[in-house]
């Protein structure tokens, strides 16, 4: 309320609508509070970005000195020399094995939720809850589970057990992302397929899945990147039973991995071993960050293609 009309009201004079609006003390205070909130919010966003930069810089500045082409293509030698070739191959193998299990099941679950279950289906909402709970399982618990399920009966830790554990980590992520993407597929496509007399599964295979391909790929990359950085399940299921200095890719024995390499190097009382661990951390982080950026680019492209 303007100062002029405020005075007018107090003096019992008729309200003058043509009086110029001037900020009273109250309005200035409200504007100041609002400004303060804006500054705080901006500062919070800056803080988050700064933390990301500090984390990346902290890893990069320490890891860069260990990094060279040889670091990526040689096996470790001794406690501190060489590279991480065997760990990189091992991570690739375990993650690929896990993805081979989790991605199809995840996509099928997503399809069930969007294409086959009705919108009010009780089964579907129970399944969604189950996926939520699964996504909320601590990864170390997933490790304990696979330890009881596979490692104890087989009497040995193995890349196989580690891969199964990673599959359980990936599955809910994959199911949720494919479900979201499938919901974005325009229903006119489904109706068109129905109108042509195509049955449901043909429509899914030849119309809906191709339309959602980009988004599903994005989800797959994100889930795989998450699994590649997991340490806790591998610590429980796949941390012993391999020679850390050689390439050992037998899935039914221990398989080395980058995250376990970092975890185990940190225990060694040698400065070079710690430098090597930072180098491995740098490689792992770069791979995961690049995968994330790539996934986002693919998603943006496929969204643009779908006209959304």
């Amino acid at each position: 309320m303007s100062a002029v009309s405020e005075t007018a009201r107090l003096e019992g004079m008729p309200f003058d609508p043509t009086a110029p609006l001037t900020p009273s003390g109250n309005l200035r205070r409200r504007a100041a509070v609002s400004r303060l909130v804006q500054i705080t919010a901006t500062a919070a966003a800056v803080f988050a970005v700064v933390v990301l930069v500090i984390v990346c810089y902290g890893v990069a500045s320490r890891g860069a000195s260990a990094l060279s082409l040889g670091f990526v293509i040689h096996n470790p030698s001794g406690l501190a020399g060489g590279g991480i070739f065997n760990s990189l191959l091992g991570t690739l193998e375990i993650v690929a094995f896990g993805a081979l299990i989790a991605l199809p099941i995840g996509i099928l679950t997503g399809l069930y939720l969007t294409e086959f279950a009705g919108p009010r289906s009780k089964t579907a909402s129970a399944l969604r809850l189950a996926l939520d709970v699964m996504a909320g399982l601590p990864t170390i618990i997933v490790g304990l589970f696979v330890y009881g399920l596979i490692v104890i009966p087989q009497h040995r830790q193995s890349g196989f057990a580690g891969g199964i554990a990673l599959a359980i980590v990936m599955l809910p992520l994959m199911a949720r992302s494919s479900q979201e993407v499938l919901l974005l597929v325009p229903s006119s496509l489904r109706e068109a397929a129905d109108a042509l007399g195509v049955n449901r599964w043909r429509a899914v295979v030849s119309v809906i899945l191709p339309a959602a391909f980009g988004g599903i790929l994005t989800g797959a990359i994100l889930a795989t990147a998450r699994a590649a950085g997991e340490t806790a399940p591998l610590l429980i299921c796949d941390s012993i039973g391999f020679n850390p200095l050689t390439t050992s890719l037998n899935l039914f024995h221990g398989v080395p991995s980058v995250s376990m390499f970092i975890y185990q190097s940190y225990d060694l009382p040698l400065a070079q071993a710690v430098t090597r661990a930072w180098g491995a951390a740098f490689v792992l982080m770069m791979l995961i960050l690049i995968a994330n950026v790539l996934a986002r680019l693919i998603l943006a492209r496929s969204r643009a293609k779908m006209g959304r």
């Binding site: 409200r30 504007a31 609002s34 909130v37 804006q38 919010a41 901006t42 919070a44 966003a45 988050a48 933390v51 990301l52 984390v55 902290g58 199809p104 099941i105 995840g106 099928l108 399809l111 069930y112 086959f116 129970a126 399944l127 969604r128 189950a130 996926l131 939520d132 709970v133 399982l137 601590p138 990864t139 170390i140 618990i141 997933v142 304990l144 589970f145 330890y147 009881g148 199911a175 979201e180 599964w201 899914v204 295979v205 994100l222 998450r226 950085g229 997991e230 340490t231 806790a232 610590l235 012993i240 970092i262 975890y263 940190y266 661990a277 951390a281 792992l284 995961i288 994330n292 950026v293």
Partner: protein, 296 residues
Amino acid sequence: MFGLCALAGVLVVLTLVDVVYQLISNGQPAISKFGLGFVTSTKWQPNFHVEGAGALLYGTAVSSLIAVVLATPLGIAIALYLSMMAPGRVRAVVGPLVELLAAVPSIIYGFWGLVVLVPFIDSLEPGLHSALGFIPVFGPASPIGISVFTAGLVLTVMILPIISALSRDLFLTVPAELKDGAAALGATQWEIIRGIVLPTTVSGVSAAVVLGLGRALGEAIAVSFVIGDVTAIHPSLFDPGSSAAAEIANQFPSPVDPLHTAAMFYVGLVLVVICIFTSVASRMIAGRFDVTRRVI
């Protein structure tokens, strides 16, 4: 095709059931020996065949609580900035950057926390102690910067992107008519936020916070690096402690005896019950908000 899809769904549910079953059956020796008192007993002495999860659960609760208390206002502020204040281009860059914080693996957070954050905390704690030392939780600084407080800070960074990304998506769903209406009535941006945006999204934001809490409760590796692995309850946040998940990560590879392993499965069982509870709670709080469409 329908059969295949239904089978996949059944597999998901069976896996969950089997998780609980495996934890119970492998934890059986500890469950029958310690019973329910396990949860409150604070003695964790595997060498003497005495195991109780009380101190571990205390560490889990305190470190997660620190994380939630710090990350909730920060995350909401970031979400407000990204959804209502940032110019389009800034939003397109900063939004994904904040989400990248969630992509950094926990082992790197642990390693980074130990080498970069710990020395920083080391210089921060004496100041906090001298300023707020009259409250027992801000006790004398730990000599090496490894403490429950440090673990809480690492967890804060880890759950911040979860809370901010989910809240931002929620804030973007607030109808523009409501916000424009408030603006037309002369409300400032803060009044729009307080009067329109926060009240319409409060359930979803709470669900996001509970989701972040669940994530913090179960984090093992990053916490195990910086919490100190001391299974005792100290009132001061600056003393080392341990958490349920971190203790499993620390001790599972080298158990003292089969009872020790069983006790860790029992700890896992308690942890999984808590995490299932938070997942279900998050979903129930979200209630009318459609959680199936969220992004992370």
